[in-house]
């Protein structure tokens, strides 16, 4: 794993690339909006004209793009990453995307003697900046082991979860927990406020026992402060819940709690909260309960 390629240098991708550069790996990059790669190029990354060019120059090519459709186009599209990947190289999609797409990429890559991993992350912009992301990977374990030293530059909790798609499935499990948890945190704080309680005092006491969670202790506190700035965009969360619901449907799995949370987050989109943090769900349920 000497030469690294990276496609998608947004907020997350950029921070992850900086760890790679700082550790002395040669890095070539591509991004749809070239300007967003400017800082990385100043730090020593080589700009290449297309995703395919990046793949052709790399032993391992990472993608960190927006939607599953972007993943599909960048990796499987004509002249894209897979078309230009060298036999023996590895493609690592770190976008949160569809498990079924991860399996398709894996199969098509295999046909060209290229390895493929799905390795979505959790931990947000702060985790990316600090190199403390959780990374959950699916694919062949041998490929995982080859890429592990690079993962270790970006993350702290890194797990091999099984065959292709299993990284994505694990990320979906993560998002399903969070979706319902956020509904509970928001409803609890709405109740407490209506009852006339001091919300910080409530979190102080209930945030230590059976109700304790990252969502309550981190995002609940932000709600109390009226801080709805994004750690994680509502827009991205709605995308993720959509993938989870689609995959669940494919597995004939009914998840009513996730479906309800998803509907409230869609209402958040309707209210123009796309680029606020997931804790802005509070505004939706607050408005539901106003004269």
């Amino acid at each position: 794993m000497k030469k690294i390629g990276w496609i998608g240098t947004g907020v997350m991708g950029k921070s992850m690339c900086i760890h790679i550069l700082k550790n002395g790996y040669p890095l070539s990059v591509y991004n749809r909006t070239k300007e967003k790669a400017g800082e990385l190029c100043k730090e020593g990354a080589a700009w290449l004209a297309t995703p395919g060019d990046v793949a052709a120059a790399s032993d391992v090519t990472f993608t960190m793009v927006g939607e599953p459709a972007d993943v599909e186009q960048v990796i499987l599209g004509k002249g894209g990453v897979l078309a230009r990947s060298r036999p023996g190289s590895v493609i690592v999609d770190m976008t949160t995307s569809e498990p079924s797409l991860a399996r398709r990429i894996y199969e098509e890559a295999k046909g060209k003697s290229v390895s493929s991993l799905d390795a979505p992350v959790s931990g947000g912009d702060i985790g990316a900046r600090e190199g403390t992301l959780a990374i959950m990977a699916g694919g062949d374990e041998e490929a995982f082991k080859r890429v592990l030293p690079v993962f270790e530059l970006m993350g702290k909790n890194i797990a091999y979860m099984g065959g292709p798609g299993m990284g994505q499935h694990t990320k979906m499990s993560n998002q399903i927990v969070i979706a319902a948890a956020m509904v509970g945190v928001v409803e609890s704080l709405l109740y407490a406020r209506r009852a006339g309680l001091d919300l910080d005092a409530v979190i102080d006491i209930i945030g230590k026992g059976a109700a304790s969670s990252w969502c309550l202790n981190q995002l609940g506190r932000r709600i109390v402060k009226g801080d709805f700035a994004p750690g994680f965009y509502i827009r991205h969360f709605v995308k993720d819940m959509g993938i989870a619901l689609l995959e669940a449907r494919r597995m004939k799995l009914s998840l009513p709690g996730l479906a309800l949370a998803n509907q409230f987050y869609i209402a958040a989109m309707a209210e123009g909260l796309e680029t606020e943090g997931t804790q802005a769900l509070y505004k939706v349920l607050d408005r539901l309960n106003r004269p």
Copy 2:
């Protein structure tokens, strides 16, 4: 606060009384089923024939009974705790009960120069045994301060939350968080199992980040092991959610996530899971998704 009375020596009450006895306070007790107080009497507690007798003999009388109707009868009923309480004494209801009932008790007690606190707990049987309960109290702060040395024998996180009913409202806030969180944990594990993931490996990785919670890391693990033994009975949780929904309705507050969780727990009751732990919600959603 020299002489202590205790009404309701079930699993929780008994453990709490043992801390009181071990610290040398004189204790008189009453329980509907006398046998359940036997061990306490061997440890030095005095059995009295009625709740009123206990109140008449005590500077502070604790109640830890079943439902709000039991609280009402024991405290406000004819010849009950309030009728026999001495002026200057304190009544402390530690049952999870209705905030509006706590306010009624407070007002009626005030009329007789008796103080009243609502002080429900969280932490379950283990917290009671180890003296690590969270105690959230409402009422007059002066009365809270007088009882605090006794609370400190039973709990670790002890908070004065405001006027009468505020302890109960805080407990409801706690239960609202947990209700939705449990739906998320259960749906996530169902999804992960259906996807073919190793569930312990999933909790290992997602249980450290934004999805982390006591419910996931404690009860999720028990679900994976197939351990549905009660830390907290489904029957009691359904009672608590009923109180929260009733109070929310009184405040004209719509809580759809809580309502959904409540329905699934009612389905758990229908399946005969009353005395299993709250994590047995897994069985309900598992059955929903079987051929």
